[in-house]
């Protein structure tokens, strides 16, 4: 029960500080799940990102449900999702009620102008840290670059990129099967 409450609190914090789309909270989730609580390894965490990216819905909520199910079963999904949703819910209710008051406030706008570059840097730091958990082989670097170019320059949908990478992984393992074991 204390673990469940802790899990709820983790996603409550994540929900309250999710600016600029789901990926911005990756360093936060990673720190809580992998470093502070040891609920999963960095490799497993990357897998969770891949899986939740391929599904419809909100990344923070999907991650909460996925992790919650793996760690604590059905109750985990409910506590995690509730934590991730609650901050937005409360803030939007307040905003809908008192919207006009702070809508054009220049200080509020200045604060958010300041937050945005920080978000970009935080996302980048997730790529750097998670990248360290992946073996630096020529093949892996090629896939990472290919994925970056496909999404950033060619505008290909991330789901397609992830599925293709999975197929490449399977095909490559088949080719290498004669020479080495996959552990």
């Amino acid at each position: 029960m204390t673990k469940l409450l802790k899990f709820f609190a983790v996603f409550l914090r994540i929900g309250a500080f999710t600016f600029g789309g789901g990926l911005a909270m990756l360093p936060l989730i990673e720190r809580e799940i992998v470093d502070n609580n040891g609920w999963m390894t960095r490799e497993e965490f990357i897998d969770v990102i891949a899986v939740t990216q391929c599904m419809p819905g909100v990344i923070a909520v999907n991650t909460a449900i996925y992790l919650g199910y793996q760690l604590f079963g059905i109750w985990g999904t409910i506590f995690g999702a509730l934590g991730a949703i609650l901050p937005s819910f409360v803030i939007m209710v307040l905003a809908a009620e008192f919207f006009i008051a702070f809508r054009d406030n220049s200080i509020v706008q200045a604060v958010f102008m300041g937050v945005r570059p920080a978000i970009a840097v935080l996302i980048f730091s997730a790529a750097v840290r998670l990248g360290k958990a992946v073996d630096r082989t020529g093949h892996n670097i090629l896939i990472a670059l290919g994925s970056l170019i496909s999404i950033s320059l060619l505008g290909i949908h991330p789901i397609l990129v992830i599925v293709t990478a999975a197929l490449i992984g399977v095909v490559k393992a088949r080719g290498a099967k004669k020479n080495e074991n996959v552990d």
Partner: protein, 175 residues
């Protein structure tokens, strides 16, 4: 009651087809909420988008809560929001079960070996797209540099980093 069911149904639909996340879903929400149901005027919808930009939380959840609340207070806000995340429970739990079951099979392991570097590329791509809208002038370059030092040179909690960037931004941009 009919209203609540419609609200739940509409946001479930949005939740089930919310691929790509974030702003990719906006045209879909606009079509359902503004055009099909007339729950919000176009003017209110633009306000909602602006509001979502300056508050934390995913835009689809923000929309569900905001629109629900505008239509009928806390009850409608709850129904809309629960409707939105409802499909995710089925989809994500099904996937989690399937992956748990086949996790140790060789082909699944190989698939993930292929996926991992792609995820790194994907996150980097997201850095670029956010950076493009966030880092726009010399002040934001300074802020990004300041944040980079905090992120890579200290073990500061990301929440504190966001807060300090907000304070810095408030100071720099209101001068």
């Amino acid at each position: 009651m009919k209203m609540l069911i419609e609200l739940f149904y509409t946001f479930s639909k949005i939740g089930a087809f919310n691929f790509g996340g974030g702003y990719a879903i906006l045209p879909f929400i606009e079509k359902e909420i503004v055009i099909n149901n007339g729950w919000l005027s176009r003017y209110d919808f633009i306000d909602l988008v602006a509001l979502s930009q300056i508050t934390p939380g995913p835009i689809s959840i923000n929309s569900a809560t905001f629109i629900g609340y505008r239509l009928g207070g806390l009850v409608n806000a709850t129904v809309g929001t629960v409707g939105l995340v409802f499909p995710a429970f089925f989809i994500v739990i099904t996937a989690a079960r399937a992956i748990k079951k086949y996790r140790s099979t060789k082909w699944m392991e190989c698939a993930f070996l292929g996926i991992r570097p792609a995820v790194i590329g994907l996150i980097t791509a997201s850095t670029i797209s956010i950076g493009r809208t966030a880092i726009i002038d010399i002040k934001s370059v300074i802020l990004a540099g300041f944040t980079a030092v905090l992120v890579f040179k200290t073990k500061l909690n990301p929440i504190l980093i966001i807060i300090s960037a907000g304070v810095m931004g408030g100071l720099i941009y209101s001068l």
